[in-house]
């Protein structure tokens, strides 16, 4: 891939990013930030490539840590976003005092 092809892709992605994200309402900004956070876990691909082709001691260490970091980023990021968004989904109206936190005071 030539460098100018890469730059073309980059510039187009900037516009797509602005276009898509600016339509997300403020209400959903925390899950959005969490989801984009999970998406940059894509760097794990770089870690996998480094580790998959590594052939000396230091490379093994760097690669394994990079893969582990990336996996934390991806798995944690998507799961926690899912947890948050599940709360926004419509629920069958539960009795709100069930969790005891808000209880009837004293």
């Amino acid at each position: 891939m030539s460098i100018m092809t890469e730059v073309t892709i980059f510039v187009l992605a900037v516009f797509v990013g602005f276009e898509v994200i600016s339509k997300v309402p403020t209400t959903l900004h925390t899950p959005l930030m969490s989801q984009t956070n999970a998406i940059h876990g894509i760097v794990m691909l770089g870690g996998l490539i480094v580790l998959g082709y590594a052939d000396d001691g230091l490379e093994y260490v760097i690669g394994t840590i990079a893969v582990a970091f990336g996996a934390i980023n991806i798995v944690g990021g998507f799961l926690v976003t899912d947890r948050m968004l599940a709360m926004f989904a419509k629920k069958p109206k539960p009795k709100a005092d069930a969790d005891g936190k808000g209880g009837a005071g004293k």
Binding site: T26, H29, V43, M87
Partner: protein
């Protein structure tokens, strides 16, 4: 080395699968525009990630499967455990932590790329050397900066701004120094120097620490958002170095979204991003608030508040940072339930910077089962305020201060506010008359239609709920 050996690296099949992957990311983000589709959108994006990871694992010549399995298993276990355990109030520091590891991974990958370049001998092509250096610097800043942000939000590190004398100058020297050394590596590139490269990683690490340490807790959301954008861009840079289209597109998407969110937050606070980063202002001790003269306020108890609320037709609740700190969201929801049972219409007015990150208040209220439809954005609720009987301000301060509108000399002049005083009556639940993080007096407290209920947000909301029940 054995390989699953199907896809040629950089070949059409692998690239096609990477295109599928980033298309799924974009689709997933598009679905994030509405709460009913957002959950599915997140799953679509996760599916895109799965495609990208599998594609990479199938590249020809890959080996070291044992280490790959260890890295994947350890990282997934830590990530899953943390994401299940975390409380919703701790979401900002969770995002900071995930952001940090992402940045750390980028910096490590860049290091490995440099070593790879050296092992090939001769000069490294500039179109991979430059993005590698960029990824290393930004990744390292992001890793350390995010860890400090995490530490501050988790209160492992003091949240107050911490600055050493001459901080700005030290930062400037470090920043310029890093760039100069990077340029030297690029010029004296035959092969690139690993020693100088490690120097860059370390200097960028110190810079990441020094830039975030002086920033106060209240400004941390902006910082996290900015670091999120940084990590995205550094991932894109790693994509340039590795010629990987999935990394370029995904990293860039995150870079632009982080940039938008950062700018929106700064606008909502009516401050520039550079002011937030370099002024050491957020969370500063309330410096001489006003003239110090005692102005009369109307103070009421939970019972009076309950009566005012119970006999209203429409109530707007304005939650703020203090509500999150007091973990009062469930108590507030209970109060709203009591009001709704009496036929009162209840809505919530959410200022863009309420809570500890944008939209954080919405997550906390959603956790307490507040219906999405009742969460109103500032632009939506302000025109309704004049038709509101009672507005209840819980743990919010600066975002309701009329000085932002009326006093051009106020430090927060021009900041959009929720116009609570337009309502017939205002109840402010707050522990004392102390100032918000802007360190200025709030004229709202002294207006004739304002009643102050001095109490902890959670205790007060529970008490009011109990009182309403007994009416």
């Amino acid at each position: 080395m054995t390989s699953l050996a199907v896809l040629e690296p950089g070949g059409s099949a692998a690239t096609a699968l990477y295109i599928v992957s980033f298309s799924l990311f974009i689709l997933g983000l598009k679905q994030g525009t509405h709460p009913t589709t957002a959950k599915r959108g997140n799953l679509i994006a996760a599916a895109g990630m799965a495609v990208a990871v599998l594609t990479t694992l199938l590249l020809d010549g890959m080996g070291n499967w044992g280490l790959i399995a260890i890295g994947l298993a350890a990282g997934s276990a830590i990530g899953a455990y943390a994401s299940i355990k975390v409380k919703m109030t701790e979401m900002p520091q969770m995002v900071a932590l995930y952001n940090g590891v992402g940045g750390g991974a980028v910096a490590l990958i860049a290091w490995s790329e440099i070593r790879h370049g050296i092992s090939l001998g001769g000069p490294m092509p500039l179109e991979s050397l430059i993005p590698t250096l960029f990824a290393a610097i930004v990744g390292s800043v992001s890793f350390w900066g995010s860890n400090i942000a995490f530490g501050k939000l988790q209160e492992v590190i003091p949240t107050r701004p911490m600055a050493v004398p001459g901080q700005q100058i030290i930062n400037a020297i470090l920043g310029i120094g890093v760039i100069v050394v990077a340029v030297i590596i690029a010029i004296d590139n035959d092969p690139p120097s690993q020693g100088l490269f490690i120097l860059i990683l370390v200097a960028a690490a110190i810079l990441g620490n020094l830039v975030v340490l002086p920033i106060g807790g209240a400004d941390m959301p902006v910082v996290i958002s900015l670091l999120n954008a940084f990590t995205g861009l550094s991932a894109a840079a790693a994509g340039f170095a590795l010629e990987n289209v999935a990394l370029i597109v995904a990293g860039t998407l995150v870079g632009s979204s982080g940039t938008i969110l950062t700018l929106e937050m700064a606008t909502a606070m009516n401050r520039s991003v550079s002011n937030i980063l370099f002024a050491g202002f957020g969370g500063a001790p309330a410096a001489v608030a006003g003239s110090g003269e005692q102005r009369p306020v109307t103070s009421i108890g939970a019972q009076d508040a309950a009566i005012k609320l119970a006999y209203a037709d429409t109530v707007v609740i304005v939650p703020g940072y203090g509500l999150a700190v007091a973990q009062a969201q469930h108590a507030v929801k209970e109060m709203a339930n009591q009001l709704e049972a009496r036929g009162v219409t209840v809505n919530y007015a959410i200022h863009p910077v309420a809570g500890r990150m944008p939209g954080h208040m919405n997550v906390l209220l959603a956790e307490a089962d507040v219906p999405y439809e009742q969460l109103k954005e500032m632009e939506e609720i302000n025109p309704e305020m004049s038709r509101t009987d009672v507005s209840v301000v819980i743990g919010a301060n600066d975002v309701t201060n009329p000085a932002a509108k009326n006093d051009p000399d106020s430090p927060i002049a021009g900041m959009p506010i929720i116009e609570v005083s337009e309502a017939n009556e205002v109840i402010v639940i707050k522990r004392s008359l102390s100032t918000g993080f802007a360190g200025i007096d709030n004229d709202l407290f002294y207006e004739p239609n304002t009643s102050m209920l001095f109490a902890d947000a959670k205790a007060a909301a529970s008490e009011i709920a109990a009182e309403i029940e007994q009416l």
